[in-house]
Every structure is written in structure tokens, then in C-alpha cells.
Amino acid sequence: MTTPRGGLSPWVHSPVARALLALLLMMALGAVFSADGAFFRWSVHRDMLRQVSVYGMLACGMTVVIISAGIDLSVSSLLALAAVSFAWLTLPGAWPAFYAILVVLAAGAALGSLSGLLVARMRMQPFIVTLAMMVFARGLAKVVSGGRKITNYVTAPDGSSVVVDLPRVFHVIDSRVLGGNLSIVTIVFLVCVALTWVVLERLRLGRHIYAVGGNEEAARLSGVPVRRTLILAYALSGLFAAVAGICQAAQETQGDPETGMAYELDAIAMVVIGGTPLTGGKGSVTLTLIGVLTIGYLQKILSLNAAPEATRLMLTGAIIVCAVLFQRGK
């Protein structure tokens, strides 16, 4: 119903070019409202990148699902579930990081593919399936955490409470490299982008995802294993949500069952602002990367200038519309 025109049009009208322009405009905005020059320090951009990384990881999975003509509202809760489980395994559980990460990622992928299964096998609508999964996983996170944050202040078997020191993995994930100029989480995010890119642009799975999103019946008649493709798409989204959850836990140095509320909306906004339509069969993770940065800068600029809540909300709404309009070349 609302796929953009273009295609015939020259490259300046190409989605990537448009998205980049929107991003540049946003940065220009930052240069103008630079909070007396703060915007020109690299540290600000570094912090923006750190801040946006967790959202970005969600956006990667979201891109895959949206290209398959679906949507995944459950990522925010899966993130919380992953954060809580990771904290629970490593802090009271005292598991070695490696296994903890392995288990958490597996769990994320599993819940994701459960959504995928319902979408692919039961032909349920992605929106409602993942909405249900969102509610369910949030509940699960509270069960795992017993309803409170899981910190390094743990209750020993004998009932007494002791402070265990934070496992190294927490510090590692929350640290920075290149002389403190790049956060590890940002690198994790970029790895997720690269992975997504490979899947979508280089692997057969990617072709199948585009095909299913573009015209499911046609894909089926071309021998595409539609169900498997959809399940894998949602599994991927769940996996990235788990990665994001681990990073969130590491940055908060705790597992908070309430964390990540409504992140799914930011993730979707990032994908769409990049220029990937919700109608499926189109778009790319490159666009999403640009979208992530655009929204990241928007938030950073508002925060740098300590814009009050109300202003912040109204500007965000207005700018999302403008960016997308701009995207569509209107």
C-alpha cells in the first residue's frame, strides 16, 4: 500500500543516498545546537555510539523480520529476559561467562523461533504473535529474577547476603578500546550489522527472506522453504535480542526485569527511518545502520541541550515524520 516509488530514478534518489542525507541534516543540526562545542568532541560521538548500540542490535534483527514482511514486538522483553538470565547465571549461579553467554543466546534464538513457528505454521499475524511473546517473555523475566533486580549482592546458600565481585565479562563488555575511543558494545553492534549484512546479501537464506517478504506465494512456487525461512528470520531476531540483553546487563552491572521497556518501538523507528518499508521484500541493513545513527544523534542532541521532556517528545515526533518524508523524496 505504501511502498516508495523510485527504482527508475538515478542514484541521488537511491534509498541509501536519501538516508545518508537525512543523517547529514541531523548532524548539521547537532553542529548548530552544539551545546557550546561539545558536539565537536569525539567523546560525545563515542558515547552516542555506545548509547545507541543496544537499540542497534535489536534493529538488526528487526530489519530481517521486517524484510520478511513481519514485525517483532517481543525484542524488548527478550532483551530483558536475556539480561536477567545472564546476570542470574553469572552472579548467583557463578557460571563461567562462556557457557552463560551460550545458554542465553540459545534461549533467545529458541523463543524467537517459537514466534516464527506460530507465524509460519499457524499463519498467525506477526504483530499479534510477537505482542503475545512480548508479554509472555516479560513475565518469564520476572519469574527468573524473582521480581527484583539481580545484582552482585547475592544471597548465599546459608541465607546470608554477600557481595560477590562482578565477573570480568561485565567489565570487558562495558570497556572501551582504541585508547578509550570506541566502546566494546559498539563493536558488538557493528559485528551484528556485519552478520546481518552477510545473511541478507550473501547467503541463500537472505534471498529467501527477501522472496518471502516480497511475494510469499511466488516464493513457495519457486521452491523456497517458506516456513523454515520465516522461523529462521524470527530466530535471528531473538538471537540479536539476546546479544543486546547481555550487553544491557553488562552496562547496568545487573539484570533488571524491567529493562528495555518499549525499546521495540525505537528499533522499528530506526529501521523505517533508514528507509526499509514495513511492507516487506525491500530494504537493507545498511539503511538500518544509517537509521540507527540518525535517531542516535537526535537523542544525543536533545540530551546535550538538556531539552525538557515535553520538547524532547514533540521534536522527536516531528523529526521522525520529516526524516521519513525526506526519505520518500517528498
Partner: protein, 516 residues
């Protein structure tokens, strides 16, 4: 018989661009009262675009539209419709989820002064209109549940329902069978008598010469010429359209060798919803290597269902036996069928064939990706691109670039891309359902020669087409289906149109055939 009366509707030096590309370069066109004016031209020549200007679909264009001498600029389809211009567009413009009656009056609902729809009146009038058109179907039935042909008939009924001064039909028969077409032609004849001006677009030569008073040819958005049908011999018309002379194809095809590739025995397909209703009721036949076996039949004959069953995409419960070179063949999915060397080209290119936004390369290679992947499903893009290059050049597919989205291709080239996808799977059995639906004479000839070539290479082809000339031209043998059963087997060389039609009609029955 060029009409002397002044034109009802005319357009002067019409120009139209989509984005940067101009697709109509100043075209003049007119239609007079009581004449049938045929618009001919290749795919992408600009016929529909011109028609869309006349019917108010495109509101941004250069040039002048005159209705009965009055300069007009329609604000939209509604405006044109109310001015007495009825249009049947190339793509079905019905809402599947709504009832027949709702669709008939969509945009022109009968309402009281509270803007309330007068459903009883609409239903009454719908009944009248349907009877007038000789269609026996309830105004309350859902359009989605009607076969394509009936939907097309419905479009026509709707167009005629509004007292029209000018009637525009853009390839109305592409989804109709012979009988449906006949009914339409009779109707057009009477309208012509009543002095309605008719603009008619088709790619079928026989129709052109049967209907046309005048013929206007477009090529690449240019007006090539307008002349009375009588003064424009077919060869001349074709070269005007295509810009080159087409090699005539002889009728007698090379004879296939006699190794049987597909054998079907007593095939039944029962509707999943209501098992008593048989979509196919006991069909048996065999297909030999290098043979082109034509399946003739009216809408709802079940021909497509047979093909879909062989392709592992049956529309109902399948029973009976199917064999592929001696071994049982019951593909659980299209994927499995493709792996066994069987592939279907569906009659519904838009709904079941192509994804508009995918690049030509990706669309063509989709069904045969497994040939171009290394471990972990990594695609060897070099190999893929070369394979696509190769097949598309062989099919003379014309595209700006192989990276362009298929939506930017003209109808004929989209069809070629779809065919290319099937070929790339290197099939032993090609199931072709309306392979030339809606594509121009040039492209058709290309495809005919290609099909011959494939047959000669030993590929076996099952062909469904509602164009009998095509069927007669290409088939070694012809099976005629009627209501899910084979009623006749004819030899490709000796068969005649009347023979086929006679068999296909079976006993007298309501037009539209066995609609579920």
C-alpha cells in the same frame, strides 16, 4: 468504414512521464460514436498509459483531452466515470473481500439522504444486471471465491452498468476463455449499434480483425499511424507494432520420441473445504519426452489444478497415481517437484510469479539458487550472474539492467523473466499455464520458437492456453477437459478450433462454467 461523425473522445499530443522517463511522446488519438477503435502495440508501447489519461487515472500529463468537443481535465477516475467514460482496466480492479453487489456499485453506491447505502435496491439492480449479462451468480457471493474469468466478466458488467458514452477495454480477454470472449464480443456489437464509442486494446490478432473499425498503432510511446482496419493487412500491422518482420512459424512441429516421462492415471482432486466437490474427477494421460501436450478447457475445467497437482501445489486432496519416468511422483511441495525436474509457470504472474521489487537477477535465479551456493548457503554470485545473463539473452529479455526491479519491466518482459526462472532450473517437465497471457505478438513469437527449441532439446511441456491458435500451433496432441474430466484427445495437426470448442463446451451450461 471510417466514421464521419465527430469524435466523442479525443486526445491531442499527449505526453506522460514517470519520474525522469517519458513514456508517451505526444500521441494523438480519438474515438467516434459507434466505432471500435483498436489500440495496438508492443508491451510497454504506452497503450495503458494513454488509456489511463483518458479515464482520469493519470491526472498529471501534457496534452489536451476533449470529450464531445469540450476540453476536459478529469480530476480522477470518478470524474471520468461520471462524464460517461467507462473503463475496464488491464489489472482487475475488484475488491476480493467484498460481495459482487458491493463491487458492482463501488464508488457509485445508491444512498439515501443520510448517506446510508440502500442495500436492498443495490441487490435488486445487481440481480438485473447479472441476468442481463447472462451470469448466474448471487449478488451476495464473495468476489474472492469466483474464478478469474468470472471476475473479469463482473468487471465488464460493472463498466456497462453505468450508461457510458465511451467504453474503454484494456486487454479484457486476457483472462477470458473462448466462450467468455464470445459473449463479450456479442455485447460489444450491440453497444456499437447503440452508438457507443469503444476503445479496445488487445494483443490477439484475430480479435483485432474481428472487432476493429480503425486501428491505431503505438511504438515506444510514439504514434506510428492510424488506419481503417480494412486497409491494414496483418503483416503490415505486425511490422508497424514490432518495427521488424516476424518469421512466420509453421504449424507442423517435430515429432517427439516415444519415451513416456509423465504418466497420470485416474487423477482426482477434491476440494478441501467440501470434499464432495471434485476440482478434477479422474484424469489419465501420458506425456512423452520432447512432447508439447496441450490442455484445452474453459474456465474451471480443472486444467490448472492438474498442473498444480503435478507441481506439488494441489488445490485439494489428490488421489490416483502420478509417475515421473516410471517412478511414483507425489511431490509434497513445489521445492520437491523442482528438485525432480518439474516446474510450473502459473497463470497468475502477479499473484504467484514475481515480487515487484526484486531485481531481475534475483527473480530469475530464485528457483535454482541451490546451483549457485557453496557450503553454508554462500551464493557464488559470479556464477549466478553469468547464468542469468545467459538465459535472459537467449530469451531476448529487454531490461534497463539486470539489477533493475522487475516492476519497471513491461508486461512481456516480466513474463520472459518468469519463464527464465523456470528454465534456469533445467527442468525435464515444463508446466506452462497461460505462458503468453497479456504479452505482445513479438514476445509471443519469441516464446513460440523457444518452446519448440526446448521440446527439441527433449523437455516435455504441458501447455494450458485459452488462445486456441496458440494451442493448435504448438501442441503435438491436445486433451480437452470439461468439468475436471478429459472429454476428447485430438491430434495436433488435424485438430480444429471448432472441434476443440465443441468438446470443451460439453452440454449446454451457463456461461462462466463450473464455478465453485
Amino acid at each position: 468504414m471510417a466514421p464521419t461523425s465527430p469524435p466523442l473522445l479525443s486526445v491531442r499530443s499527449a505526453r506522460k512521464s514517470f519520474g525522469p522517463v517519458e513514456v508517451l511522446h505526444g500521441v494523438d488519438f480519438e474515438v467516434a460514436a459507434g466505432e471500435v477503435h483498436v489500440l495496438a502495440g508492443e508491451n510497454g508501447a504506452g497503450k495503458s498509459t494513454l488509456v489511463n489519461i483518458l479515464s482520469g487515472v493519470h491526472t498529471e500529463y501534457d496534452g489536451e483531452v476533449l470529450l464531445q468537443g469540450e476540453p476536459r481535465r478529469f480530476s480522477g477516475p470518478a470524474d471520468a466515470a461520471h462524464s460517461g467514460i467507462a473503463t475496464i482496466h488491464q489489472e482487475l480492479s475488484l475488491v476480493p473481500a467484498m460481495t459482487v453487489a458491493d463491487n458492482l456499485f463501488l464508488g457509485g453506491e445508491h444512498t439515501d439522504r443520510w448517506r446510508q447505502v440502500d442495500f436492498t435496491r443495490q441487490e435488486r439492480e445487481a440481480r438485473r444486471l447479472l441476468e442481463k449479462a447472462g451470469l448466474d451468480l448471487s449478488p451476495r457471493s464473495l468476489v474472492a471465491e469466483l474464478p478469474v474469468s468470472l471476475q473479469q466478466m463482473l468487471e465488464i458488467v460493472r463498466a456497462l452498468a453505468r450508461e457510458a458514452v465511451v467504453l474503454i477495454l484494456d486487454e479484457p480477454t486476457s483472462a477470458l476463455d473462448e466462450r467468455g470472449a464470445e459473449a463479450l464480443f456479442r455485447r460489444l456489437a450491440t453497444l456499437r449499434q447503440e452508438g457507443v464509442g469503444i476503445v479496445y486494446i488487445t494483443h490477439r490478432m484475430d480479435e483485432i480483425y474481428r472487432l476493429a473499425d480503425r486501428i491505431t498503432v503505438l511504438r515506444d510511446g510514439h504514434h506510428v499511424g492510424t488506419s481503417p482496419a480494412g486497409q491494414l493487412p496483418p503483416t503490415e500491422l505486425v511490422s508497424r507494432m514490432v518495427g521488424r518482420d516476424l518469421a512466420a512459424i509453421d504449424r507442423v512441429p517435430p515429432t517427439p520420441d516415444d519415451e513416456v516421462v509423465v504418466r497420470v492415471r485416474d487423477l482426482h482432486i477434491r476440494h478441501r473445504g467440501l470434499p464432495t466437490h471434485e476440482l478434477v474427477g479422474g484424469v489419465s494421460f501420458s506425456l512423452r519426452q520432447g512432447e508439447i501436450l496441450g490442455l484445452a478447457g474453459l474456465q474451471g475445467s480443472g486444467a490448472s489444478h492438474v498442473l498444480r497437482a503435478l507441481f506439488g501445489a494441489a488445490d485439494g486432496r489428490v488421489s490416483g497415481s502420478m509417475e515421473l519416468s516410471g517412478r511414483p511422483h507425489f511431490p509434497a511441495s513445489p521445492g520437491e517437484a523442482i528438485r525432480e525436474g518439474v516446474i510450473l509457470l502459473s497463470s497468475h504472474r502477479k499473484a504467484q510469479g514475481l515480487a515487484p521489487d526484486q531485481s531481475v537477477t534475483h527473480s530469475v535465479s530464485l528457483a535454482s539458487l541451490s546451483r549457485y551456493v557453496a557450503s553454508l548457503g554462500w551464493i557464488k554470485r559470479g556464477v549466478e550472474r553469468r547464468a542469468v545473463q545467459d538465459v535472459t539473452t537467449r530469451l531476448r529479455l529487454a531490461a534497463a539492467s539486470l539489477e533493475a526491479p522487475v516492476r519497471t519491466l513491461s508486461g512481456g518482459n516480466q513474463q520472459k523473466a518468469y519463464l527464465a526462472r523456470c528454465l534456469l532450473t533445467q527442468p525435464r517437465v515444463l508446466l506452462l499455464d497461460e505462458p503468453t497471457r497479456g504479452i505482445d505478438i513479438g514476445a509471443k513469437t519469441d516464446i513460440y520458437t523457444l518452446m519448440r527449441a526446448w521440446a527439441a532439446e527433449g523437455i516435455s511441456i504441458l501447455l494450458i492456453t485459452s488462445e486456441l491458435d496458440e494451442l493448435l500451433l504448438l501442441s503435438h496432441r491436445i486433451l480437452v477437459l470439461h468439468r475436471g474430466r478429459i472429454v476428447a484427445e485430438l491430434d495436433g495437426n488435424s485438430a480444429t478450433k471448432d472441434g476443440i470448442m465443441g468438446a470443451a463446451m460439453g452440454h449446454a451450461e451457463a456461461p462462466g462454467g463450473a464455478a465453485p
